[in-house]
Structures are given as C-alpha cells and as structure tokens.
C-alpha cells in the first residue's frame, strides 16, 4: 500500500473511531491508565489491520514498507491517542528481535506484542555502564540447557507492565568489553527477577532498577551469537533513530502547535513572542525533514549508521528549545498553575531534560559526529 493512501485511510478510520480511541484520562493520567489505554488502542489497530502493516507476515504482520509504521505512530501522536513512549517500544525492540531471534521464536513472541497484549522492555544500562555501555557487568554463566543471569540493570522503562526483556549480559571475561556481551530475550516472570521503581523528577515511576538473582534463561532465548550482543545492540540504533524519532517528532510538532494556540489565545502577539515561536518551530521542522530523509533511506534498504547521531542531536535540541520557549511564552504557568494544561507543560518541560541524556548523551553524540562524520581522528 502506498504511504499516502495508507495515511488517508488510517486517518479516516481514526476519525470514525475517535470516541473509542480517545484516552479516558484527562491531562497527564496515571501510568496504569496510560498502559491500559495503550493496550486498547494497539489492539484496536491490530484488529482493524492498520496496526499490522509494515511488519513481516512471519510475525503476524501484513507486510509493506516500514514507512507505514512511521505513519501510524505519527497519526497516534498528532491525535494524542496513546502514551508516546509505550507506543514506540515495539519499534525499538521488535525489528532487532526479528533480525536476530530464531524465526520460530519471533513468530511466537512478537505477535502478542504487536497486538498490544504484551509489553517488552530493554535491559541495557547499568549503574556503572551508562555512556560506557560496553563495560556492563551483569553476568550470564552457561549452565545445562541455557544461562544463569546474575547482576543488575537500571533505567528499565515499563518493566512493571512487561512480559519480556531484551537483555545485554556479560558472557566473556570482565575486560572483554564489547566483544564479550551477549543478548538474551528473557521472560520477566522468570524466578529471581525483582525490581525497584525509580521515581523521576517529573513525578512518575517511569523506570526501575532490576535485579537478577540466579535467573535461568533457556538456551533458545539467545539473540544472535554468543558474545555477539554488541551487534544486536547496534542493530537497534537505526530502528530507534528512524521510526521512533519520527514518532517523537510528531509529538513535538503537536506540542508546538498547542503552544502557538495558547500563546495566540492569550493575546501575546508581540514580535518577541513571534520570534521565539519561529525559532522553536524551525528546528522542529529541520528535525522532521532530516528524519524524513532517514526514513526513506531505511525504507530503501540502505544501511543506517553513525549519521543518525545528527538526527539525535537535532531532535533533542528541538525538544529542549520547545519547552524552554513554552516556559517563556506562558509566563508563570508551569511554575504556579495546577490546571491540566499547566501540568502537561510542567511534565513535558521536566521530561525534556532527559532527552540529552538517554539513548546516548548529547556529548557522546557529538563525539561520534566529530570522529566519524568529520573524521577528526581520535580524542586525546
């Protein structure tokens, strides 16, 4: 199906089903409410067929270009129909699992994720392995019929609601760095997994610290090769930075439009307000344009690589500039107001501070651009 027809048909279907798809919560809503509604929307899209386009038939999809998945997330975010981070988790994890899991495993496990019956999470970061991910130490030892995992992970989003986790573990010597890492697809209900939620500064329990205490993982849950986990982790990047970023760009575009509407309605139409709005908008459009180019490269089967660090820097800068502009142009609102709109601005403003930290910090991205795109040689 061509993207334009798909967008039109999907838009008409979303409009027809707006009553059913609009979140029951007002304003920010609780995590429980978000996750329940996310599952509901995901299921409805699956049942309508729209949610199956862009995914291979081997995992319950209907085939077609991955651009179609980008369009679904874009429309969901423009209409604010589901939690954006929950919506996009499948884009981060499922394509790589499909690339690296044995076909029968992905054929069994991916469809429930696609249908919204399941959520998955990502176990990569550790307390001592943030930007330096290759130094991770959560360990998997070979045992009869599989692996025994011991250690900890941190910043694991949605684990409370998840059934599976894509986990990176150390299988080589401690100093083996990226050469001694293996990827496993772990069931969250395995005995020995525990977690403690982490409350963020924007007042949500978005993620958790996860503990693995002699957790048995069957051998058939291996993704890729033993000690080949770094390739799995790197495979995630192009997906995360194409479809997921496109989705988030749509969210930022909607929030920018909200801001323009609110500033306009407040009668704040001076040159200073106009200039600040225009400056915020231009970088949202710059990101969107760049991301569009990236989407088309992915859809054409091109190998995406380090150049997606440019996309990452553009979207994080645009996001932080947007919410700083909102703070300036809605004076005192996020600081002193408890209304629904104010709470959303406050939430998004605070959350935007994480944008230059998660998924590779702003500094790491600039290091990559300097080394790989500008060819400046090694750092001192």
């Amino acid at each position: 199906m061509d993207p334009e027809t798909f967008r039109r048909d999907l838009g008409a279907w979303l409009d027809d089903n707006a009553n059913d798809l609009t979140p029951p919560y007002e304003g920010i809503g609780s995590m429980d409410a978000h996750m329940a509604h996310y599952s509901h929307v995901k299921r409805a899209l699956f049942d309508s067929g729209f949610g199956r386009y862009g995914w291979p038939e081997s995992v319950g999809g209907l085939g077609g270009s991955p651009l179609l998945r980008a369009i679904i997330g874009e429309e969901i975010n423009f209409r604010d129909l589901a939690d954006p981070n929950a919506w996009t988790m499948i884009e981060v994890l499922a394509p790589t699992v499909i690339d690296f899991a044995p076909p029968e495993l992905s054929a069994r496990l991916v469809p429930p994720f696609l249908r919204g019956d399941e959520m998955w999470c990502q176990g990569f970061s550790e307390t001592d392995a943030g930007s330096d991910l290759a130094s991770l130490s959560c360990r998997a030892a070979e045992t009869d019929g599989g692996w025994v995992v011991n250690g900890q992970k941190i910043w694991t989003s949605f684990i409370e609601y998840s059934q599976r986790c894509v986990l990176l573990v150390r299988t080589g010597e401690p100093e083996s760095a990226h050469r001694g890492i293996t990827a496993l697809l772990v069931d969250i209900d395995s005995p020995g997994i525990g977690y403690s939620p982490i409350e963020t500064m924007h007042g949500r329990r978005d993620f958790a610290e996860v503990h693995f205490d002699d957790v048995f993982v069957p051998a058939d849950r291996l993704l890729g090769e033993v000690n080949g986990g770094w390739q799995v982790a790197m495979d995630i990047l192009p997906y995360e930075r194409s479809t997921t970023f496109w989705h988030r760009g749509a969210l930022l575009h909607r929030r920018f439009s909200d801001l323009a509407a609110q500033v306009s309605a407040a009668g704040n139409r001076g040159d200073a307000a106009a200039k600040a709005l225009g400056q915020a908008f231009q970088w949202i459009v710059a990101f969107r344009s760049r991301s569009r180019d990236t989407q088309h490269q992915l859809a054409a089967g091109e190998q995406l690589g380090v150049e997606t660090s440019v996309d990452k820097i553009l979207i994080t800068s645009a996001e932080q500039q947007l919410f700083e502009t909102a703070r300036d142009l809605l004076p005192g609102v996020m600081e002193f107001d408890d209304g629904l709109a104010a709470a959303s601005w406050r939430n998004d403003y605070l959350y935007s501070k994480a944008a230059t930290i998660y998924g590779g910090t702003a500094e790491i991205q600039r290091n990559i651009v300097a080394r790989r795109l500008l060819d400046l040689g090694p750092e001192s």
Binding site: D271, K275, S289, D293, R366, L376
Partner: protein
C-alpha cells in the same frame, strides 16, 4: 516545463560551476562564465535544481556572481538575461522595495553587482492589490558608492527616489511571493555552501595545528564546536533540499532562516577554531564571514524570518504540518 536532472549530471554541473566562479576575477566575469556554461537555460528548465547547484557553488567558492537577479527574474516568469537586474528588498526584509508616495517612488532595497552593467531593472512596488512589478532604467538606480563590509561588493544598498512616470508595468506571470520563495531557497544553498567551506577550513586547521604536543582536533572543546556546526548545516540542508519538491512559501522561509542560523553558528565556531590566523587578512576566512553576513540579510535573515513565521503561526493559532513522509 521543468525537467529533473539526475545526480551524476548535477555533480558534473556543480564542479564546472565551481571551477568557473573560482577562476573569475569579478562578478561580471563570473556571470558571463556561468552564462557560457548554460546557466540561464538550466534555470529555465530545472529552476530548483539549477539554483541549488549554482548557489552551492557560489557559497563554496566565495564568488560574488549576481545569479540572484536571474533567479528572481525567472520566478517572475521572465527570461533571465545579463542585461537584467532586480531591486531586492531592504536588509532583513522580504517586502517589495518600492513604495509610491504621490508622484514619486521611494526605493529602499539592495542591488547586486549586476546593476552596474545591466540596462533594465525589475522593481517590485507595494500597491493596494499586492505587489506590482515594474521595469525601470537601471541607470536611475545608481547611487553613491558605499564599500560596506564585503570587499567583494556582491551587494549594495540603494535608497533613491524615482519619478513614477519612469516605471513601466511588466506582464510578469509569477508573483512576488513566488520570487521571494525562490530567492530564499537559492540563498539558503549559498549560505550552506559557504558554511561547509568554513567548516572545512576549521576542520583542516584543527588537524594541522599542534599545541601541547598534539593536534588541537584532539580536544573535545574543539570537536564539539565543529560537530555542532555540522549538525546545524545538515538540518538546514535537509529543509533546503525538501523545497525542491514542495513550493510551500513557509518552507522556503524556514530554509533561509535555518541556513542563515547554521552559517552564523559555523562562522562563530570556525572563527574560534581558526583562532589567530583566522583573525588575519591573510587567511581567506574573513571573506566568507563577511559574505555570509551580507547574504544572511537578503530576503529576510535568521533573526527576522522567525518573527515573520511566528506572526503567521500566532494569526492562525496552529502550526501547519510541513514535510510529509
């Protein structure tokens, strides 16, 4: 009718344009060289790609060629010619440069070097029914010579009064708005070509220049400045490229503003990385810096366009969804 040129042919054109403009001693020789290479025909048959290629070359070589006149004339539906020039809007503005006051036309705008040798000029004038387009004897636009900041004298300010009877209406098919959009996209490419040149100079200097026993390119403070420059250039270049398939005037405005911002950022960072040598007249950096400052002001700048767009957004109370998959 516009045609589409494939990437290989375009690359070939780009290198011949760069060679021709780099060798030309002055703007009129550069204009002539580009006309000899078929610039006017290219512009007529593939205006978007033609302008993008030529203006990138202008940015890369620092040429003062007056191709902007041709882009505006072509967008207005007339045939580009070496005898024709245009009056461009005043610095940081996109409004037509002419205003009627009684029997006199007050002109406040900018001229390229083409105006020195051209016979006829196109002048846009604000009227009750939008912008009217008129032909005027280019000789009437001559004013006192002003050096300005740009040693290449690519553009100069013109503030003159012309008797209204000296204006002849033209039968232009294109609108002033479409000419503004075409000029903005072309200038965005020039700014980006110049920004890439500045970034290239700074990059090479960082690799060659050693302090504390190693190339300064090894210092993160320097690497991050250059990385930030490249990111802004690529973001702006993507929008300028998108304008090739999308004639939305707001997108063209954004392309110009983003390119101006990318060029400003790159100039600032490149200046710092080039350090002492970049402050001398001996290094060519200052020529690109000064040209960038001039080109940034043409048809609205990185500081004036955001306000222009912001006012449109405030008036409509929403943001249009530009750029589709």
């Amino acid at each position: 009718m516009s045609q589409f040129i494939d990437a290989d042919d375009l690359a070939l054109l780009a290198s011949s344009f760069e060679a021709a403009t780099a060798d030309a001693p002055g703007p009129s020789e550069a204009d002539q060289a580009l006309y000899d290479l078929g610039w006017a025909e290219l512009l007529a048959s593939a205006p978007g790609q033609g302008a993008a290629t030529a203006f990138n070359a202008l940015g890369a070589t620092g040429s003062a060629a007056s191709l902007l006149d041709d882009v505006v004339v072509n967008a207005l539906g007339a045939e580009a010619a070496l005898q024709s020039c245009c009056v461009f809007p005043a610095p940081h503005k996109a409004e037509a440069p002419g205003h009627l006051r009684g029997e006199t036309v007050m002109v406040d705008g900018l001229l390229s070097a083409r105006a020195e040798t051209a016979v006829a000029a196109v002048l846009g004038m604000g009227t009750e029914n939008g912008v009217g387009l008129f032909a005027v004897d280019a000789g009437l636009l001559h004013g006192p010579a002003v050096d300005g900041i740009d040693p290449g004298r690519a553009y100069r300010r013109v503030v003159v009064e012309i008797p209204a009877e000296a204006l002849e209406p033209t039968a232009a098919e294109g609108s002033w708005e479409s000419a503004v959009a075409a000029a903005r996209v072309a200038l965005a490419h020039q700014l980006l070509g110049g920004a890439r040149w500045m970034l290239g100079e700074a990059r090479q200097h960082a690799i060659d220049r050693a302090q504390f026993g190693r190339p300064v390119a090894q210092f993160q403070a320097i690497r991050h400045k250059l990385a930030e420059s490249l990111v802004q250039i690529e973001g702006a270049a993507s929008v300028a490229g998108a304008c090739l398939h999308d004639p939305d005037p707001m997108l063209a405005a954004l392309a110009k503003s983003l390119a101006g911002q990318a060029a400003r950022t790159t100039a600032t960072h490149a200046q710092q990385v080039l350090a002492g040598i970049g402050f001398t007249a001996e290094h060519r950096f200052h020529l690109w810096l000064k040209r960038m400052l001039v080109v940034d002001t043409l048809f609205g700048s990185a500081s004036s366009i955001p306000a222009e767009i912001g006012h449109q957004l405030l008036a409509s109370g929403q943001a249009p969804r530009l750029i589709q998959l």
